[in-house]
Amino acid sequence: MAKPKVAFYWCASCGGCEEAVVDLAEDILEVVRAVDIVFWPVALDFKKKDVEQMADGELAVSFINGAIRTEEQEEMVKLLRRKSGLVIAFGSCAHIGGIPGLANFWNRETIFERVYKGVPTMDNPKGVLPQTKTIVDGQELTIPEFWNTVHTLDQVIPVDYYIPGCAPPPDLIMKAINAILEGKLPEKGAVLAPDKSLCDTCPLADSKPEKLMMKEIKRPYEVILDPEKCFLAQGVICLGPATRSGCGERCINAHMPCRGCFGPVKGVKDQGARVLSFVASILGIEGEEQMTDEEVQKLVDQIPDPAGLFYMYSLPSSLLRRKIMK
């Protein structure tokens, strides 16, 4: 029997998701025993035309990482969608927008101004900005259009399943691959990770007081943290209560608070709003009856960049999706 054909593709991403596939280590041998990898630009020399020549649905699965922010990425994922039985959004950027999604606090114009004119290391006396078409020696050169807004994969094509994480951990990848090979996938649209919140599985959970309260907010660099104690109990914002588990608590074990790369728990539309909700709930409970509006304002003003922190990985998938440019 012919082995199922599999593609890996990357869009707006850092390459960490590709690394995550390599991090399967010897397990990758098991994977290639079971499937044929027929398209993987970062590792194998197949071209777009090879995909175009395939029959529709010929690819069993495409694992696509990265957010979508250019015309070319849109074209490629639409092509892969047509050729694939299953499309899996692989990693935070494809799933919820990821770090590239923070560009939704700007737009093409402001990003180009900064990158091609503003940064101190840029030498661009004529102020040239990227153009989609340029004539060089009578020849027309083209590059893809850069969008104002970064999108998640499922805002551009239908997605069957999601493997979350920045980057997805090897155990989740292997579980997902085995579920596909054994035909044991859950309902369409599922995130292939536990439905619990990170707080539920956190190794510091036992140190979390029954009633969490924050008197003031500290940023990690401002305080020497007790590695055995819940971050929230130490006044440091951790996104664990509003983030899906399954990451292996990698940040917590490295003594850093969660920043939300696994996205919201099941049923939640807006991860950042959930973070805002619990932070505001536990901040300044003590003496709340006596507080004036001005004092409450001061309390919440301790968070210098709430949007950037609460939506660190999920801005494109949020209800507001982007900043309004005026």
């Binding site: 909700s277 505001a280 901040l283 300044g284 919440v300 209800l319």
Partner: protein, 136 residues
């Protein structure tokens, strides 16, 4: 006549909602737009997600109406205050005017003031117009 603003009011079942039922008319703001308040069991139950959902679906403003300090049995009003204040800070970063999210306190017997406060909020939001920008 200018366009009537689209406003969502989340009101507390125990203080604001009885007041609304006592008020003489359920219409307000030039009798053009009808307020269908969404009743919640406590202002502390109004999650920021609901407010953002309303704003993302076309509401020009959202008013959270709860019991005055000292009058909520669950202290949910203090929680609502902190959430609204933090949400306003966050909305500024999206270039959305923080005044679009209102917070008002009403006691059970304040049906007259209720109508006035809603009108004032509607006036303020009408001034701002719908949320929007060139890259919306």
């Amino acid at each position: 006549m200018r366009e009537a603003p689209k406003i969502i009011v989340f009101c507390c079942n125990w203080s604001v909602c009885p007041g609304l039922q006592l008020s003489t008319s359920s219409t307000y703001y030039g009798d053009e737009s009808l307020v269908d308040p969404i009743v919640t069991m406590c202002s502390g139950r109004v999650s920021p997600e609901l407010i953002l959902e309303a704003l993302s679906q076309g509401a020009w403003g959202v008013l959270v109406a709860g019991c005055p300090p000292g009058e909520c049995e669950h202290n949910g009003n203090y929680k609502a205050r902190r959430r609204v204040f933090l949400l306003r800070n966050l909305l500024k970063q999206f270039n959305i005017e923080p005044e679009r999210v209102g917070l008002e306190w009403f006691s059970t017997g304040e049906s007259a003031r209720l109508r006035g406060a809603m009108n004032d909020f509607a006036d303020k939001v009408a001034e701002l117009g719908p949320i929007g920008g060139k890259d919306g």
